[in-house]
Symmetry: C2
Subunit: 137 residues, 2 copies
DNA sequence: ATAATTATGCAATACTGTTGCAAATAAAGA
DNA sequence: TCTTTATTTGCAACAGTATTGCATAATTAT
């Protein structure tokens, strides 16, 4: 089984308390986390700034990916595929439950292709579906 | 031709200087606008708070819709279809150009259906594609 | 024209995110 | 293991973003 420590080393990061703690939060979470969630659960011991910097590092390294929202908050979730430095393979759909507010990576639901107008070139695509999740059904 | 005034009346809003001005900005814009854009162009005369409240009202009424981003900013764009109070028909793809940074409503590109896992119910879907736009090609 | 309703501006306040720098910690090398 | 080097952290200061209550001003309805 892959430990927090393994993951940090695998991505070439030095192993520190805050990184271990924040990574643990992701491993135990059943949905995506907002900065505020992490701050609430981890920042008792760590400075706010450290949380910002850790999340930024994790995104850069490809340990977590970001999920866009329309409420001025970014959500973060563990990358499950083989994401690497500056190259995410985050082609799955995200689901936000309007009842329990959890955001879930639907790792098996691939973002469908779309035909863009002529002269538009695609680099990345994100898809967020809102609705009612299986638990709230 | 439908004027600013018509639009405001159509949605049951009282006609005020700030609403007219902000609506004008949207009508003249060739892409989506961030709060900051509006503040920069309109807030010479209006208070910041008024911009917040106006955008909120426009979203509620269905005059503009929001576009999610991963940079802690919300973008707003005019609704072109028949959106109404609390019921947006915003089923088109949004395109963010990584070169010129403009965000464009691809009104003719419909968000494709996705098959959700069992016991998940869909309410809304948003899709944001990044890449290079026709002007920057 | 007047009254009732609604929107605005202002001030205060809270929340969110960034930067520089010194101290602390971790990794690399002997 | 001890020492050196590189990296990370916390703090403080600051800038930017968003929300609220309330008095005043503007708009709409009568
Ligand atoms: Mn995901
Ligand atoms: Mn749009
Ligand atoms: Zn739910
Ligand atoms: Zn462009």
């Amino acid at each position: 089984m892959k430990t927090k420590l393994d993951i940090l080393k695998q991505y070439g990061l030095s192993v520190t308390d805050s990184r271990k703690k924040i990574l643990e939060l992701f491993l135990n979470a059943d949905g995506a986390l907002a900065h505020a969630d992490i701050e609430k659960n981890a920042a008792k011991n760590f400075d706010r700034v450290t949380v910002y910097r850790t999340l930024q590092t994790f995104v850069e390294k490809g340990i977590v990916h970001q999920i866009p929202t329309t409420d001025n908050s970014i959500l973060y979730a563990l990358c499950k595929q083989n994401c690497q430095q500056g190259h995410h393979h985050d082609d799955h759909v995200h689901f936000i439950c309007s009842n329990c507010d959890k955001t879930i990576c639907l790792d098996d639901v691939t973002i469908p292709q779309v035909k863009l107008p002529i002269n538009f070139t695609k680099q990345q695509a994100a898809m967020v579906v809102t609705g009612v999740c299986e638990d709230c059904k």
